[in-house]
């Protein structure tokens, strides 16, 4: 795993959409944070959450010596502490004066342009339920193309899967483990009881602002 990925994942709460992650990792070595910020406005404006996370990540990656600290507050704001005399001009980052960047709650992804993702999720889950109804094999149930597609949504799909776990029954622990990546690999480790595992995942989702 490259340094860029590791560093990015260390800001787990900020993980944006796939497009952004991909671009970020690719361009990490040659980053021009100003250019990236501007291009993110153009190309990733559909993903409000991703756009903001991209911005923060871009700043941290490109100028680790200038900015010492970033944190996500429970109210959905990211605080970035700048070192003295390194504050960029407000013409580049309009809201820099406040030193706070708003990161919408992850549930906002639906209203902020991810209605399409939700529609796709609903369609996939209906297809998966119907086509695996009489199957006993978890191997086949988890390998079903619709389930695999949901897993491939990654963190962007977590709010939908967690809500599904919250409202309905189903085999979601396998998908959750992969969707949450490093952050979620140990959430239900060692738990053999459905209710305990469900409670652990929902608590994690709540703490990480997914539900």
């Amino acid at each position: 795993m490259s340094k860029a990925i590791q560093k990015y994942k260390s800001y787990g709460n900020l993980t944006p959409s796939f497009d952004v992650v991909k671009r970020d990792i690719t361009d990490y070595q040659k980053i021009n944070w100003k250019e990236m910020y501007e291009s993110s406005n153009e190309k990733h404006c559909r993903f409000e959450y991703g756009k903001q996370a991209f911005l923060i990540a871009a700043i941290l990656f490109s100028h680790p010596d200038k900015y010492s600290f970033a944190s996500l507050n429970p109210n959905g704001y990211v605080r970035v502490d700048f070192k003295q005399s390194q504050i960029p001009s407000s013409s580049v980052i309009p809201r820099i004066d406040s030193r706070l960047f708003y990161v919408p709650n992850k549930l906002d992804i639906e209203s902020a342009g991810n209605a399409k993702l939700k529609a796709e999720f609903n369609k996939l889950i209906a297809q998966w339920r119907e086509e695996t109804f009489s199957i006993s094999s978890l191997t086949k149930i988890y390998a079903h193309p619709a389930y695999q597609r949901i897993m491939a949504m990654g963190t962007a799909g977590l709010p939908f899967v967690l809500r599904e776990l919250q409202n309905n029954q189903g085999h979601w622990f396998y998908a959750l483990k992969f969707m949450a990546g490093e952050d979620g690999k140990d959430i239900a480790a060692g738990l053999n009881n459905y209710e305990d595992a469900r409670a652990a995942w929902l608590e994690w989702g709540y703490n990480n602002n997914y539900i």
């Binding site: 339920r129 119907e130 086509e131 695996t132 109804f133 009489s134 199957i135 006993s136 094999s137 978890l138 191997t139 086949k140 988890y142 029954q169 189903g170 085999h171 622990f173 396998y174 239900a188 480790a189 738990l191 053999n192 009881n193 459905y194 209710e195 305990d196 595992a197 469900r198």
Partner: protein, 197 residues
């Protein structure tokens, strides 16, 4: 909801080509509303109805009676070992044997287990269809097809309840069933009139 009509609609229809209305009976409600969907055919074949049996390591929704490693492949041998841990031993076929209950393990074209059914003391087989209903079917072949493949291995364990049904008793109950059907056919309103009077 006890309704097996889905077996005659798509995609059930294509998957269960041998099922006909006269060779099976719908015996339970579906279980998809339960946590982890309740239980599956493997658990049901082993006589259990509280867990979903499948060899997946580290999944709180999956139970397996013997220890497994994440790298263990899903194989017929693994299923045979699991049933052996429940007191079963491999046998030649699915024919009724006095004093024994039997299970059939089904595999698909690639040899991977897909389903299991259990032979009841009455001489018919019982299967749990995924998260759907339990059904009773006349032969192992009834649920064979595109989805479950073919019954490949048979196992048995002692069960004193499994005694060959008395032939005379069987014929008598069949005659009784026939008479009941005919009565319903010729006097369809008899029950309703009786109730209203």
């Amino acid at each position: 909801m006890r309704d097996c009509s889905w077996l005659f609609k798509s995609p059930g229809k294509e998957n269960f080509g041998n099922i006909r209305p006269d060779n099976f009976k719908c015996c339970s409600d579906r279980t998809d509303h339960l946590p982890c969907w309740g239980y599956n055919c493997i658990a049901w074949a082993a006589g259990k109805s509280d867990k979903w049996w499948w060899p997946v390591a580290g999944d709180p929704c999956a139970f397996w009676p013997i220890p497994i490693e994440p790298i263990d492949p899903v194989s017929l041998e693994q299923f045979i070992k699991a049933f052996k841990s429940e007191g079963f031993s491999v046998c030649k076929n699915g024919e009724f044997e006095n004093g024994f209950e039997k299970v059939a393990i089904y595999v698909d074209d690639s040899g991977e287990p897909t389903h299991a059914a259990r032979l009841l003391p009455s001489g018919v087989w019982t299967s749990k269809l995924g998260r759907g209903e339990d059904i009773e079917h006349e032969t192992v072949e009834v649920v064979e097809g595109k989805l479950y493949g073919k019954a490949k291995s048979f196992l048995k364990r002692p069960n004193p309840l499994c005694q060959k049904p008395n032939q005379l008793k069987t014929w008598f109950s069949r005659l009784l069933e026939f008479l009941r059907t005919q009565l319903k056919r010729f006097f369809p309103t008899a029950k309703r009139n009786q109730t209203s009077s």
